[in-house]
């Protein structure tokens, strides 16, 4: 279990006074304090960890966010920013003495500018909401995390979310132009804008992926892109992880960069097929979903070349989609992977490490050995083009020892990712989940350097503390950090 810091007695002791102060800053229904109404905010996508906060603030404007932060700063109250609560790493897990600032009421699209290919949206707009707003003109917002129906752009910025199409379109950081942020002092700052290159330091880059530790994001200027003429997928099944890995290498070496290149191992194929009936090959050890874009002729040509490459690796089956419907069917299983695994096992941990792609066969072999030794099943889904691995570890939440084993298994996988030259998290963020593993990837002085940068934004460590960095004793005891 991951340790949480203790509450600040001076905050808990002044609870009633603090809540009254906050209430005065927000609209009538903008502050939640009743225990039964606070319950939905006690956890996020990492539901094994729960803590009801002091209160939930639901601001409707940037100015209200600023007033809340200024007040919390003056009163030494910790603040946990929250979008849709879909974080898989516990990024929005409250502390007992914290105020959650929920961004869901700031859900307006403020401006869409097609000639300049950008849109200004509030932090509580959902990821898919941006694409929906521009799709009638053939545009889209590129990053597409699996949770895109629910997750909010403010959370995407804070976690630097990815998706299945990063190989071509990049992650959140590559698709942003500007931010409006509120500091813990209550200052409102505009970063970037509708232009491509900012001058001075890259605050946009630093804030992206900062997990709510530096500021609260209230508005985001995103790049919107015109969609391709069309897209089509193919499916290739192979006799071993090694062979499928070699096929991935050959594809990249050919100069073709597919818009998506997804890898599923045998357990993942079986789970997804049972769930989605997508026609996945059950005799395969590994399967690739490859998607290309362009005109119909361009798709034909690229899929033909990709088929020829796959043919060199004795595929067990090769299915090139002939229509958008068939492409949809090929993706259906992959996109339903979480639900599919959820049917086999009610509880699972979704891990998120990145490895050099050449290490894939080795890493999958080691994960299987760990699975055997822990006695827990695992299914692997992998963004093969960019090395982002998602092992789904199945466990039984009714059995505490099963959960602890799953956590240890997950930690072992992430340590392995670092050992082979990769990292702890490719797109889910560190949150509380991987906080204590940061020492595996970073030296103490490197973590200290990152902490000092947080202190530059938030000297009293009030913004989403106890995330990302291993707890230091003063923080664990609920005392302000020394800079």
């Amino acid at each position: 279990m991951i340790r949480q810091p203790g509450s600040k007695p001076e905050v808990m002791g002044r609870r009633i006074h603090i809540l009254a102060g906050l209430r005065a800053l927000l609209p009538e229904t903008g502050l939640i304090t009743e225990p039964n109404l606070l319950k939905p905010y006690e956890t996020d996508g990492l539901s094994a960890y729960r803590q009801v906060p002091l209160a939930v603030a639901l601001p409707e404007t940037t100015e209200q966010v600023a007033a809340v932060l200024k007040y919390c700063h003056q009163n030494g109250v910790r603040v946990v920013p929250r979008g849709a609560g879909t974080s898989l790493s516990g990024g929005a897990l409250p502390m007992e003495d914290s105020v959650v600032v929920g961004m869901m009421r700031m859900n307006q699209i403020l401006d869409i500018d097609y000639p300049d290919r950008c849109a200004v949206v509030q932090a509580g707009v959902t990821n898919i909401g941006i694409t929906n707003a521009v799709s009638e003109n053939g545009f889209f917002y590129a990053p597409d995390p699996s949770s895109q129906l629910a997750c909010m752009i403010g959370g995407n910025v804070n976690m630097n979310s990815g998706g299945a199409h990063c190989l071509k379109y990049g992650v959140t950081a590559n698709n942003l132009l500007g931010l409006k942020i509120v500091t813990i002092d209550g200052d409102i700052i505009d970063i970037g804008g509708a232009h491509l290159d900012a001058a001075g330091y890259d605050w946009l880059g630093l804030l992206t992926g900062s997990e709510g530790m530096l500021a609260i994001v209230t508005e985001v200027t995103v790049r919107i892109l015109r969609g391709p003429e069309g897209a089509r997928a193919m499916l290739a099944a192979f006799g071993s992880n090694e062979i499928a890995g070699a096929a991935v290498d050959a594809i990249i070496s050919s100069g073709i960069i597919p818009v998506a290149l997804e890898f599923m191992d045998r357990p993942a194929i079986h789970a997804c097929e049972a769930f989605a009936h997508a026609g996945y090959p059950l005799d395969a050890e590994a399967m690739l979903i490859i998607e290309v874009e362009g005109s119909a002729e361009e798709q034909d040509r690229l899929l033909g070349q990709l088929s020829a490459i796959c043919q060199r690796f004795d595929p067990l089956s090769l299915k090139v989609s002939q229509s958008p419907e068939e492409s949809l069917a090929i993706w259906k299983g992959r996109k339903g992977a979480f639900g599919a695994v959820g049917r086999i096992s009610p509880d699972y941990l979704c891990m998120d490490g990145t490895i050099p792609t050449s290490q894939l066969p080795h890493v999958l072999r080691r994960i299987q050995e760990m699975s055997d030794s822990y006695g827990l099943k695992v299914a692997n889904i992998f963004h093969a083009g960019d090395g982002n691995l998602h092992p789904l570890i199945m466990f039984d939440a009714n059995d505490p020892s099963s959960f602890h084993k799953a956590e240890e298994f997950g930690a072992d996988i992430l340590k392995l990712c670092v050992e082979v030259g990769g990292c702890l998290t490719g797109e889910h963020g560190v949150g509380v989940e991987k906080r204590d593993l940061m020492q595996v990837q970073f030296h103490a002085h490197e973590l200290q350097q990152q902490r000092e940068i947080k202190s530059a934004f938030d000297p009293d460590w009030l913004l989403n503390p106890s995330k990302v960095f291993p707890l230091l004793e003063p923080e664990a005891a609920g005392l302000p950090q020394a800079a």
Partner: protein, 396 residues
């Protein structure tokens, strides 16, 4: 050849002695931004060499002092390229007889025409090693393509001009170089009409990877465009050869402009290398040079507004990058600032005599709350203020 440890030792000495250091590679960009007053110079040029190149993993890692041409050659040998198409600005910044380095192009975050579609240098820096002003070697990122582990100091260090840390190693994402390149040249459109055409192209499904507008004089400076005449609007496609042919054809039909011509791969590569390196800019020996970054549709307005101040220029990035050359005086600089600000954009004073660049804001000053954070971050990375003091902001 020097080692990373010797750079660490030099920084540690400077920290102890409280003596500022001028940080550079081969110094090809020392004319940019503000001049640095430092007793000693620390060059990373001797820390050179490619440490890792995994074409199948789209990753290259090299010491900061590695000449950029050496990296480009290694990539070309495997059919790959640097995604952001970084420019060689030696024709503007003066030839030093030495090539720019990987560390220099990273520390300055300079990107070429492809930036409009595929992102800047900072978008492809996957990992960095640097010696901070605390005299510590820190790492951020790594050698994989997707990494959100901890604060992204890669982005903070990229474009920080050596003021937060001495970058010692850079790991970049690379991509297969396109088979073919094609350019659609639309003659005769003024800046506003040209930018509108570029917007339409960039908003098309055809994957445009270059979008520039050159006034007549600027176009005449590009050998590959000689003889066409008039202002030129340039639209580039990079892809497999059949796709280039198809996409250029579709774009050409879309505009149906009389006189539109297409350039083949060799012509296109030569023309876009010139655009990348700002060759169309008629910068006199005594002129100052600015880059202004604005929303693309505002580019023509900035260009036109500043003509009265005696500047010339051209547009890249679909109108969003305004290259300007003009009198190196505070009045012209003030006009550039005002035009950029009015368009909601930012300026960078790329080249000017020390008297000018030491006296004006070479990049926009930050609002007070942000400037406070900037000072605190600088203090967190370089508590003694010894790394390139004053390079970006006076007194920092």
């Amino acid at each position: 050849m020097i080692s990373e440890d010797s750079i660490l030792a030099t920084v540690a000495d400077a920290v102890r002695a409280r003596e500022p250091l001028l940080i550079q590679g081969n110094g090809t960009k020392s004319g940019m931004l503000r001049p640095v007053q430092a007793a000693r110079t620390l060059s990373t040029a001797g820390l050179s060499g490619i440490n890792l190149y995994a074409p199948k993993e789209l990753i290259i890692s090299a010491w900061a002092g590695t000449p950029l041409p050496e990296i480009e050659a290694a990539l070309a040998a495997s059919g790959q390229h640097l995604i952001a198409e970084p420019p060689d600005l030696s024709s503007l910044l003066g030839k030093t007889g030495k090539p720019q380095t990987l560390g220099g192009i990273t520390a300055s975050n300079l990107s070429g025409p492809r930036r409009v579609a595929w992102g800047a240098m900072r978008d492809h820096v996957m990992g960095v090693r640097a010696v901070t002003g605390r005299a510590e070697i820190i790492r951020s990122g790594g050698r994989v393509l997707k990494n959100v582990t901890g604060l992204d100091l890669c982005k903070l260090l990229t474009g920080s001009y050596g003021t937060l840390g001495v970058i010692t190693e850079v790991t970049l994402k690379v991509l297969p170089a396109p088979d073919a390149t094609g350019t659609l040249v639309l003659p005769g459109l003024d800046a506003a009409a040209g930018t509108a055409a570029l917007s339409a192209a960039l908003g098309s499904p055809f994957g445009v990877s270059g979008a520039a507008w050159l006034p007549q004089d600027a176009a005449a400076r590009v050998p590959g465009l000689a003889g066409i005449g008039g202002p030129l609007t340039l639209i580039r496609i990079e892809d497999f050869a059949p796709s280039v042919l198809y996409r250029i054809g579709r774009l050409k039909d879309q505009y149906a402009l009389p006189g539109a011509i297409t350039l083949d791969t060799a012509q296109s590569r030569s023309v876009w290398a010139d655009v990348r390196d700002a060759k169309p800019l008629a910068a006199g020996a005594d002129d100052a040079v600015w880059r202004v970054s604005v929303r693309p549709s505002a580019g023509p307005g900035v260009l036109n507004a500043l003509r009265a101040s005696g500047t010339v220029g051209f547009l890249d990035w679909g109108g969003g990058l305004v290259w300007l050359a003009g009198p190196a005086d505070t009045a012209t600089h003030a006009a550039v600032e005002a035009a950029a600000r009015a368009a909601g954009g930012v300026w960078t004073l790329l080249r000017a005599p020390d008297t000018l660049r030491g006296a004006v804001s070479v990049v926009p000053d930050e609002a007070a709350p942000m400037a406070r954070i900037t000072r605190a971050v600088k203090a967190a990375m370089d508590p003694g203020g010894i790394l390139n003091p004053g390079r970006l902001y006076a007194g920092l």
